[in-house]
Symmetry: C2
């Protein structure tokens, strides 16, 4: 290898940062054989370097102040592995201003501040790469942006939060309550001490924002995503869904329709014979629907230091190749040329059309089923499947219904009327049903 | 779009060629928004243009002589969609000599003549792109070459021939004999009039050759692939495999081991709970094992005009971006820098270690099971599962065994001894078993 090494400045030496050091060292030869030069972390920042115990940091100049690394004259490219919005944003912008390409796994930063960041990068002719921000080591960004570049992408749907998928899998396999499955996930390191971002669907919504932007050529629009988590999923719902032939998964969904774009992240019933229903535990999977390729699917580990580092290093290889070439030869960061991005109208959840699952607990009286089905019929909502469970051990009876495709506002009206029936208990569950 | 259109010269207007015309026209706007210029077929060749009835050819200058297009001064890039070895090779080399990038789906050409073609392209600083050669529209080449660039790739395995998968699925679901399932596949257009290349595993071996080269950084080595097809798979084997918890799939497999590289394509028993067992019909799926990312999987339609054209157009987009940039900024065609490619020692099938499935038909005599298990024990081959079926309707009894991991030569020795047992009929089945 005659060319000079690519010098990487690494911001953050947590799980992901250490993964990058480890992969670049362990696979140094393979990577150099691909790139034609070596890729080496020369500078890094860490608040507390003593916590970076998993890898050898020999030969790396380590400082506490990340800005020193981001702005360092002897660094060719910055890997941002700090996470969070600030100071990550300031660091990324500082690197861009100095003409340094940036590689990041920070989905929150991109979903919320990405438009400004990519605009700055565009102005400066600098690459910002973010394969690791969605799906861990699964090359889904590249698949959408480059692999499906010949397609009009019609829809995508994915299990893009491993924490949710782990918890739902545990609830499904062990009959655990949400709280117990969450506690297990935290003990195993699959959920954070404060799990809000994961279990409330925010992390999935961040990732969905990024996927939708590169799939449809629209600016990053996090505030237009409808977000729900998995905290309302109960073991009863999982059991009844199973009896009806479905699994409950937390999905990020983006769809083009005649009426606009749907952007939503929520717990969803999926027929048990689909790939989305079969991917369990912390695995991620993403389905992409293109008008030429049809449906393709990708799956793999969505988190973890090494899987995330795998994607970061892939980005570093892309950056190393492009470095010194004219920006018009670069792949546009958001897949479409900046001047060709279009604001697309995002539908309100009320107008989204989908099938629905409804479960009500009812006092065991005659006429219950008739009253519920009458309300659905009045609103022209067809029933695809129904399951009535007789009461036992003194418990109330329950009725679960899967509807046909119906606009959400109409289903909500049905829900309102059902709720007012005298024999219906407060405990009502409702989830959308999708057939990807 | 101010930049001049990218002018594509298309060789061949069969299913794939027409797919390229259709996709470039249908998705013209999306593609131009991504590339920053339009991509247009300006010249094409066809032996009999009257057969290209599926698309509008307006505005395309069509000639009978493909060489006229390959060498045309007003064409920026060549798409080779003729197939076969000759004249495809001469056409591709002629285009390269004139400095024109080439996009091809021709796996036979690349597997057999790729080393010479890529060498010529390298000399001339010209891109040769071939995403469509494996897995139809699934961006598996890009996933290996770029998405997993940070990994040492340890193994890959895939269902990469849709014809085989369709036939095996039919045999499994309908209990059909191979010949009947093949006839159905031919009627539906899933198998060619001469199905030899597909059902004998040659097509899968071509594709495996390409995947192994870009995964391991070794020259294309088709002649080192061990090739078997699906003609020896019987409905009985499928049924017994199912009873033991397995499906039979035709896989392309490439693995690094301490003893060398394994390159093989053959019918394989796969546990029913694995993704490879669940992908049915004409779908393809490929698993990739990297030392950083772990296992990732990709699936989708592996054939068809539009799916293949999707991959060709993705390559055209890559070519359009790179055109005019220095070759050192290009992704190396075979993933590794040409100077860094290594000849790797490929193992003889005899030395490959794997589990095996063995089914023998036996006369219904006492001591049969003992004789067979004794032979296996003598050769230190453990039995993972065994299934004995009593004779009925006057048929012979059968014994099926799944062994533990064992070198192939040792299993072959067992097979030889079993065959010599007096009560064993000629009808013996054996397949490898894999646990990806």
């Amino acid at each position: 290898m005659s060319a000079a090494p690519l010098r990487v400045g690494l911001l953050g030496l947590g799980t992901v940062g250490q993964g990058v050091v480890r992969i670049l060292s362990r696979n140094a030869e393979e990577i150099a054989r691909r790139v034609g030069r070596s890729v080496v972390v020369t500078h890094a920042s860490a608040r507390d370097v003593s916590r970076a115990r998993e890898v050898s940091l020999a030969g790396i100049e380590i400082v506490a102040d990340a800005m020193q690394v981001a702005a360092h004259a002897d660094v060719d490219v910055i890997v941002e592995a700090i996470g969070g919005l600030s100071p990550a944003k300031e660091l990324v912008l500082a690197a861009i201003e100095r003409g340094k390409p940036v590689v990041t796994a920070n989905k929150a930063l991109l979903a919320l501040q990405g438009n400004a960041i990519f605009e700055a990068a565009q102005r400066r002719g600098v690459m910002v790469a973010f394969e690791a921000s969605v799906g861990g080591g699964i090359p889904v960004i590249k698949a959408i942006r480059e692999g499906l570049a010949g397609n009009r992408i019609e829809a995508l749907a994915g299990i893009i939060n491993g924490t949710c998928n782990y918890i739902l899998t545990q609830m499904s396999e062990k009959g655990q309550a949400f709280e117990d499955a969450l506690a297990d996930a935290q003990r195993l390191g699959y959920a954070e001490a404060d799990p809000t971002f994961d279990v409330e669907g925010v992390d999935a919504a961040h990732k969905l924002t990024i996927l939708a932007s590169i799939a449809f050529g629209m600016p990053l629009s996090f505030d237009k995503v409808s977000v729900e988590g998995i905290t309302k999923v109960t073991p009863q719902d999982i059991k009844i869904a199973r009896a009806l032939g479905y699994r409950i998964k937390h999905l990020g969904i983006a769809k083009r329709t005649q009426a606009g774009v749907e952007l939503r992240a929520h717990a969803t019933l999926v027929p048990e014979d689909r790939l989305l229903a079969k991917v369990d535990g912390v695995l991620n999977t993403i389905l992409l629907q293109g008008n030429a390729v049809g449906q393709i699917g990708l799956y793999g580990r969505g988190a973890g230091g090494d899987a995330t580092a795998s994607a970061i290093v892939a980005d570093l290889v892309d950056v190393a190749r492009a470095l010194g070439s004219d920006a018009r030869h670069h792949v546009p960061a958001l897949a479409f040329q900046p001047a060709s991005m279009c604001e697309l109208s995002v539908m309100a959840l009320d107008d989204v059309v989908s099938a629905h699952y409804l479960r009500v607990t009812v006092a065991d009286e005659p006429g219950v089923l008739k009253a519920i089905t009458s309300i659905l019929a009045e609103l022209d909502i067809s029933i695809e499947a129904i399951l009535q469970k007789e009461p036992h051990d003194g418990a109330d009876a329950s009725v679960a219904v899967i509807t046909s495709q119906v606009p959400e506002h109409r289903f909500n009206e049905a829900l309102k009327r059902v709720r007012q029936l005298p024999f219906v208990r407060q405990d009502i569950s409702r989830f959308r049903v999708e057939y990807f």
